[in-house]
């Protein structure tokens, strides 16, 4: 065991830093052309535009330590926004289960950030119990296309998506994990209706999506009919480890401390208040531990291919930490935490702080509610079989 970064790793970190420094947006530069140019340059570095993709598909083939360095540095730097749906969620499925033609057709556009994807999984009756999904896909008599009918819910950014990857039911005669089929189709077509859901923070990110007789060519099916659950399950695990966001939380924690220090109390500031300081301290301790849990998980994955049991707690701890940061921002805002809307009264960080806290309640619900996550840990890690859920 050695906590020091090797000289190669240090050199890598410096290289990453100077890349970010050299490619910062310049004042007056158009954001969207800067964004695309940034990814192009990252690509020229040897797959830095797709850090998590395997080397075979153009990724950089980094070690766990290099990934860790990258995550830390990206959390601090100003880099262009990126969406996880195509890049981090669908791409691994295509790589593992898509045929050559599908890989050639979809991966380049995902890599070039040309096509926005959304994820059609949850349904009104299928939340934590995702396999209970009912959106029906019926194969035509000539076997050339499916007709899709049903509804999806909590579909993030469906209103700006070009394509959807969607779990559908093609057979309900067996257990519910069977008979699920994984389809890809364009969002902008007749028969698809997207309705906004406004969350407690007052924002529109998620939607309901209704399908009425949507035709999907059979070549847009990933893998075999009825095997979609197997493909999605791997992806769900991918999603779960990606939700911890610890490096970002570390940056936000420092911001939180700065904010609290800006609130004058007597001869000191809010960080001198023992109750508040204790909560910030407890949060930081949790973060220090969780960060190393993540590193251990990365290391064991690199050594054995499978993430170790410690990885199962990452989503649980990571989301809870993010919520606590939001809550402490609300507390730091004091009386101004109850102001709503764009106007912004009180300290500058108070604006939007409460909306952020309210929306953050979603973190322990989406991608597998914490209660379900714990059921999985109980069953898969501790070997406790007497639970109701799977």
């Amino acid at each position: 065991m050695d906590i020091n970064l090797s000289s190669e790793d240090l050199a890598f970190r410096d290289e990453v830093r100077s890349f970010f420094e050299e490619n910062k947006i310049k004042s007056g530069e158009d954001y969207f052309s800067w964004r695309l140019g940034w990814f192009e340059k990252a690509r020229e570095k040897g797959g830095w535009d797709v850090p998590k993709w395997p080397e075979k598909f153009g990724g950089p083939g980094w070690s766990p330590t290099q990934h860790y360095i990258w995550e830390q540095e990206t959390a601090k730097a100003s880099i262009p926004f990126d969406l996880p749906f195509g890049l981090g969620m669908l791409a691994p499925i295509l790589m593992n289960y898509g045929n050559q033609e599908q890989q050639d057709r979809f991966l380049p556009d995902i890599r070039d950030r040309k096509v926005n994807w959304c994820q059609g999984y949850s349904e009104p009756g299928a939340g934590s119990d995702l396999a209970n999904l009912k959106t029906k896909a019926v194969l035509s008599d000539d076997g050339t296309y499916y007709t899709v009918n049903g509804s999806k819910i909590w579909t993030t950014l469906a209103h700006v998506a070009d394509w959807i990857f969607c779990l559908t039911r093609t057979d309900d005669s067996g257990i519910k994990q069977q008979g699920i089929t994984f389809l890809l189709f364009p969002m902008k077509q007749e028969g698809i209706e997207v309705k906004p859901i406004i969350t407690l923070g007052g924002s529109h990110t998620v939607n309901t999506v209704h399908f009425t007789d949507v035709k999907v060519p059979v070549e847009n099916r990933i893998g075999e009919e009825g095997k979609g659950w197997t493909y999605a399950k791997g992806l769900l695990e991918h999603e779960r480890t990606g939700l911890a966001g610890l490096s970002k939380s570390l940056v936000e924690l420092e911001q939180l401390k700065d904010n609290a220090r800006s609130i004058q109390r007597g001869n000191g500031n809010l960080m001198d208040n023992s109750s508040y300081r204790s909560k910030v301290g407890e949060l930081e301790i949790d973060l220090l531990a969780t960060e190393f849990t993540e590193l251990r998980s990365l290391a064991s994955a690199a050594a054995g291919g499978e993430p170790g049991p410690e990885s199962s707690i990452l989503k649980l701890k990571g989301t809870e930490i993010k919520q606590r940061i939001q809550k402490l921002t609300v507390e730091a805002s004091g009386i101004y935490s109850s102001a709503w809307g764009d106007k912004g009264v009180g300290p500058s960080f108070a604006k939007g702080g409460t909306a952020g806290y309210l929306n953050s309640r979603y973190f322990t619900i989406y991608g597998g509610a914490s209660e379900v996550q714990k059921d999985i840990v109980a069953k898969k890690v501790l070997g406790l079989t007497k639970g109701n859920s799977k």
Partner: protein
């Protein structure tokens, strides 16, 4: 000891409960909240007609001679519907200040109009730097030509948008954080030099930042003695804490009951959610917090009615518990409703927001824990 409400109080409780059931479903509340002035003038008149606005005023002032227990009865039911009408600002804060220290002349000119619902008033106490310390007052009232000139800025003033009168907490002597040297004045909301910036709050109510620039008031507008306003302010704030706590208890009852009902209906993994022990225990915790808050609410209210000089510590305890438990119950209700809980579509999110705001008003859970342990 007796926890029974009087016959009259029971009747009022039932009539408020009916009012809330008939008038405060979620869509109606949202509609009222979004339209100006942010509450229903019609409902406000009904509340006046039903006598609710006069309950907490003495018979000499034209009221019904009730006390904080009557306010508790009203506010707990208001909490079950997230009632928008400005009872707290008018009756507890503004009216509470007037009834405690104003001259007979001011009382006569204001209280009857508060009771019949024709006049709107509020209390401007918080400031940018004060956070939760009510004695931290920088807004200055300087004596000049037998009157006073007020300069300063007040923050998060409830109901100021509709108020005809504002009770403003000022400093007339001493340093910025002295209890001594605080004076309360009642001023016309449209007096020269008053500038308001109105905005909505997280819970669908309204508040304002108010700038006072060379605002002239007569010395007859003073409430209580000059420099001695702190004790009035403290008593009013304690009443406000009791009232908000009662409202919070009503809101928590809705949250835990809605959650119990929802988990019995919603099925996942071929079972109602309520079959899962981990969720059952969470709901038991919500129920326990609600009951404990109710107990401490009764305790603090009854102690205050008995002798306000002995109840301060319990009032701090109450506001701590209400803040902490309210947010726990709110967060739990959202968690157990899953994705639906995080939307504007179900009422539980709105109740959660109200509890969040209540924690931030008149001192949050941390603030009152510090106060409690230092007394």
């Amino acid at each position: 000891m007796n926890f029974e409400l009087s016959e009259e109080q029971k009747m009022i409780q039932q009539s408020v409960e009916r009012f809330v059931q008939e008038n405060y479903d979620l869509s109606n509340r949202i509609k009222i909240s979004e339209e100006d002035p942010g509450f229903s003038k019609e409902y406000w008149s009904s509340m006046a007609e039903l006598g609710w606005l006069g309950l907490a005023f003495s018979e000499e002032d034209g009221g019904f001679g009730g006390n904080q227990i009557d306010t508790l009865v009203l506010m707990e039911q208001f909490g079950k519907g997230l009632v928008l009408e400005p009872f707290l600002a008018n009756i507890v804060l503004g009216g509470g200040s007037i009834k405690r220290g104003a001259s007979q002349e001011i009382k006569d000119s204001i209280i009857p109009s508060l009771i019949d619902g024709s006049l709107q008033i509020t209390l401007a106490y918080a400031e940018e730097q004060s956070r939760f310390d009510i004695e931290d007052v920088a807004t200055a009232a300087r004596e000049e030509n037998g009157g006073f000139i007020i300069n300063g800025k007040k923050s998060m003033v409830l109901n100021a948008e509709s108020a005809d009168k504002i009770v403003v907490v000022t400093r007339t002597s001493g340093s910025q954080v002295d209890e001594e040297g605080i004076s309360l004045f009642v001023v016309d909301a449209d007096a020269e030099g008053i500038e308001k910036e109105n905005f909505p709050t997280v819970d669908g109510l309204r508040a304002s930042e108010i700038i006072f620039k060379d605002v002239k008031v007569e010395s007859t507008s003073l409430i209580g003695e000059k420099d001695k306003g702190f004790s009035i302010l403290q008593a009013v704030v304690n009443d406000a804490i009791l009232a908000l706590a009662a409202e919070a208890v009503g809101a928590m009852e809705v949250l835990y009951k809605d959650t119990v009902e929802y988990t019995q209906q919603r099925e996942q993994f071929d079972h109602p959610l309520s079959d899962f022990q981990v969720l059952q225990h969470r709901m038991v915790d919500m129920f326990m917090e609600y009951e404990q808050c109710k107990s401490l609410l009764f305790r603090a209210t009854m102690e205050t009615v008995q002798d306000p000089s002995l109840s301060q510590r319990t009032v701090h305890a109450l506001k701590h518990l209400i803040g902490k438990s309210g947010i726990f119950v709110g967060e739990s209700a959202v968690q157990l409703h899953g994705g639906m809980g995080v939307t504007e579509e179900l009422r539980i999110g709105h109740f959660f927001k109200r509890l969040l705001v209540i924690d931030s008003q008149f001192g949050n859970a941390d603030f009152h824990l510090d106060k409690f342990t230092s007394l």
